[in-house]
């Protein structure tokens, strides 16, 4: 067996690592820019790295650091970050049935859920645990490592936007979405999610449009 991690013939951890590699580069680059932003926001060297390790969610960390930098206060920073991360509630719920082991191990594995690993791990409407863990670990190494590089040597690194890396994320999600559109009800869920996000983005704060868009999954509750 060349793949000892996949006795059942399904994807192994390495397949998750491989699938996440293209977006891992972008995660590293944005980790660097988070480190730079956090440093200039007066967060010091250690706190941004600890935050990348424990929160492990880019948009929420950027929001919290920006609010602290602007003098917005702790409560506003925490509220914005938590609102942005509420989408991990439904994402974690959809991963729940595939996680194994005692409660602490399942809770620990669930920490590897981020937008990109969750999206890459989709298989036939369910989450594949091996893909989730492989992709999640690679993204975590890139994100935390990038943050460390950013706080230590941020001035030496190019702006990720000038490399177009901010366009890599919507492209990844579009590619994975294309693989998800099988049948009319999933197409409806996608259209519903996009429309809800578009409608709320101009009026609601960051985070709200995405958590509201998850309600479009209810089109799948009709079948019994």
């Amino acid at each position: 067996m060349r793949h000892p991690t996949r006795p059942s013939g399904g994807p192994g951890y390495l397949d998750g690592v491989r699938a996440a590699a293209p977006i891992g580069v972008a995660a590293f680059a944005f980790g660097v820019s988070f480190g730079v932003l956090a440093r200039s926001a007066g967060m010091g060297r250690l706190a941004p790295v600890v935050m990348s390790l424990t929160t492990f969610a880019g948009s929420a960390q950027f929001a919290a650091a920006s609010i602290l930098a602007a003098g917005g206060g702790v409560a506003a920073a925490v509220a914005a970050a938590v609102l942005l991360n509420l989408r991990y509630g439904p994402m974690g719920l959809s991963a729940a049935s595939t996680l194994e082991g005692p409660w602490w191990r399942r809770a620990l594995t669930a920490q590897l859920v981020v937008d990109e690993s969750w999206a890459i791990a989709q298989r036939d409407g369910r989450i594949d645990r091996h893909l989730l863990v492989g992709a999640g670990l690679l993204l975590a190494v890139g994100w935390v490592g990038g943050t460390a590089v950013g706080v230590l040597a941020g001035d030496l690194v190019a702006d990720p936007a000038s490399l177009g890396l901010d366009a890599a994320f919507p492209a990844l999600f579009l590619a994975l979405l294309a693989g998800q559109i099988k049948g009319r009800s999933r197409l409806l869920a996608a259209i519903g999610g996009a429309l809800i996000a578009l409608a709320l983005m101009p009026v609601a704060g960051p985070g709200v449009p995405i958590i509201a868009a998850s309600l479009a999954c209810l089109v799948g509750a009709r079948r019994s």
Binding site: P22, S97, P209, A216
Partner: protein, 103 residues
């Protein structure tokens, strides 16, 4: 400095709790078919919302039209030609970088 650590601790603990809530609440119980059906439609709904917000979202909320949209259009063309994921992502980044360099 204390404010920084309070923020880091609060956001970290809240995020870890949110991520773990699903598996801790459901455990190894099987969900009712309707709930399972809804969860199987979560990926297309959320992925579509992520495409929209990542391609069009401004840094402080609202819309911002910039080179990301050109990158996304290039990615869509690559997808029509059934390009592999690595190529789709690379084409998007290269297009956005090119548009920014020319602008």
């Amino acid at each position: 400095m204390t404010a920084v650590w309070v923020t880091v601790a609060a956001v970290g603990l809240a995020t870890m709790a949110i991520k773990a809530a699903g598996t801790l609440l459901v455990g190894d119980r099987t969900l009712p078919p309707r709930a399972q059906g809804a969860l199987e439609h979560l990926a297309p709904a959320l992925l579509a919302a992520l495409v929209v917000s990542q391609a069009l979202g401004g840094s402080g909320g609202g819309f911002a039209i910039d080179a990301r949209l050109a990158g996304l259009a290039a990615a869509a063309v690559a997808l029509v030609f059934r390009a592999p994921l690595l190529l789709v992502v690379t084409v998007a980044a290269a297009t956005a970088a090119l548009v920014r360099a020319l602008a």
